[in-house]
Symmetry: C2
Subunit: 345 residues, 2 copies
């Protein structure tokens, strides 16, 4: 037995159940059961096995186990980009929960490309992930690749960048209400000419945040002006362009609600470059609580979302679904809230 240990340690290899069984004079099956605390095995032998396994630092081979149990103990994650504060926080949340539960996380980046998203989705399913978490790319406008996921019976959760076009659970924040609140805040501050830098067309987020904007105006009987709504993508450049365009208008806006902080920051940069004072001449509210908002001057008012919790909830949910034979799709909405800083008056 100790010779065995010695040899294996020298080879840098792992013990197997067989090794333990041989050393303990038991069968492989009892050792296996003992280690998993199966009720069928005697307490005394259980203790003996577990103790010995501990002692020699036995680690069962998850590959073999996975093969037999048809599970990999891994969940796949697809995000549009990773060098992005929002998504990296989400990933952090996913990672934390998954790690605690003994699951590994396979992270992939779609790079905002539908084609890559499709390829990666297939790849992950073929890698036999036990569950899949996805934030859709901007390009994604059809969804057959997720049919594939469903056909293979792997639980799918959409995070933040969601759609109702695919049967799946979703984790989002209350985009509509938060937007409504932000715009209403601007109205309460006395603004009437309020513009909106919208997100990419077709996105659920874009639609919901726009709707919040529209309904807030409507509630306060403010006319909706088409030229005050412009789509700028999710980027700083987009925000900059929208701001520029707004500034050519005859009746210029006094306030802007942007679909996210990057766009808001782009707008701020434009206004600064042309000498428009923020917040005196122009109030701006973003969305996301990007740390850049606390660096830029004046500090950006924004809507703070619980990114980490979104990831954590998504992970939690997918783990539940993995362990259930049957489950129904859930749609969680987490609260986000307005944080007024210095870019609004």
């Amino acid at each position: 037995m100790y010779l065995l240990i010695f040899i294996l340690e020298m080879k840098g290899e792992q013990y197997t159940l067989k090794d333990l069984a041989k050393a303990l004079n038991l069968s492989v099956s009892t050792v296996s059961r003992a280690l998993r605390n199966h009720p069928d095995v005697n307490e005394a032998t259980k203790k003996k096995v577990q103790q010995f396994a501990e002692e020699v630092e036995f680690q069962k081979n998850p590959i073999a186990s996975g093969l037999r149990k048809h599970k990999t103990n891994a969940i796949g994650v697809i995000v549009p980009e990773i060098a992005n504060y929002f998504f990296s926080q989400v990933i952090d949340g996913i990672q934390t929960i998954a790690y605690q539960a003994g699951y590994n996380v396979l992270i992939c980046v779609s790079d905002e490309s539908l084609e890559k998203e499709q390829a990666i989705t297939k790849h992950l399913v073929n890698s036999r992930v036990d569950g899949l978490l996805v934030a859709l790319s901007v390009e994604t406008n059809h969804y057959e690749h997720f049919d594939f996921v469903n056909r293979k019976n792997v639980p799918l959760i959409l995070i933040d960048r969601v759609t109702d076009q695919v049967p799946a659970s979703t984790i989002t924040t209350n985009n509509y209400e938060a937007s409504f609140e932000a715009v209403e805040y601007l109205i309460h501050q006395g603004h009437r000419q309020i513009a909106h830098i919208a997100g990419p067309k077709g996105q659920t987020i874009t639609r919901q945040r726009l709707q919040g904007y529209l309904d807030a105006l409507k509630k306060h009987a403010i006319d909706i002006q088409e030229q005050l709504i412009e789509s700028g993508g999710y980027t700083q450049e987009g925000g900059e362009a929208c701001a520029k365009s707004f500034w050519t208008l005859g009746e210029k806006p006094e306030a802007i609600f942007a679909v996210n902080d990057r766009a808001a920051i782009g707008a701020m940069r434009f206004f600064k470059s042309v000498g428009v004072a923020i917040p005196d001449q122009m109030s701006i509210i973003g969305f996301n609580n990007n740390p850049m908002g606390e660096i830029i001057e004046p500090n950006l008012s924004t809507i703070v979302q619980p990114q980490f919790e979104m990831g954590a909830s998504a992970a939690q949910l997918v783990l539940e679904q993995i362990n259930q034979e049957e489950y129904t799709h859930q749609h969680l909405t987490l609260p986000s809230k307005l944080a007024i800083r210095k870019s609004t008056l």
Copy 2:
């Protein structure tokens, strides 16, 4: 055969080699070989098999394959934090290369904690990753957990946050030279009282960047003043505290070289808060090219590092080592360069 297809599709299951073999009236081994383009199999049958596999979208089970080949086709990555521009870029680079090579990436976060780093290291090795990429946590001051990695013969690459205390390949940037260049730049601009916000004690990065600072001063015959060197961690708060401390000095610095952008930004915020003009009264240079540097005003001069390439090179290297029986540790140093913006005069 088509009944088979039908049944499997209905069950949402995967084909196996056995299924293909049966359908094609061949043995499992030939099918396996055909799919892997083994020379031992006739071109005609090879074509037939491959075509059929394509047709029914056969995907071999990587778990089974992994079990047999003692490989998982996965590499582990440990970073101190993920919601961090530098590391998320590195991860992006790793991810890109690994994905191309058909490898999965398991990302874990040590949260700057030695304890977590140890636990994760063990976990990943026990998950049988084929290789491991690590950026050390700040707390890491002993390294036994990596002996474990080496004993199990899994290739280990240290990225950026490295040490010479563990036998492993490393990927870094030319910290010393870049720091030297930055400080020399400040000297050329006429500054003599140059302070350094250093990194956490014990870190290789801290040591190298400090040495660059020291040697630049030495070269230009400028006395080194202990009170102009202070360790501030890698954080904004740390930078802020150091700046504050420098500002209490009788002979105040005219310029600061900071170990990274976060610290530099912290310093800038302090100086702004007390009305010290940047760059007129105080020049500042950071390190990392954090996008915040282009948001803060004045825009931060910094040293730009090829983060993505660092990740990519690390991935490339570990893949090479995975596929070699014997390999020697390599130490790659990638170039980084000074980017002068508006925070220096």
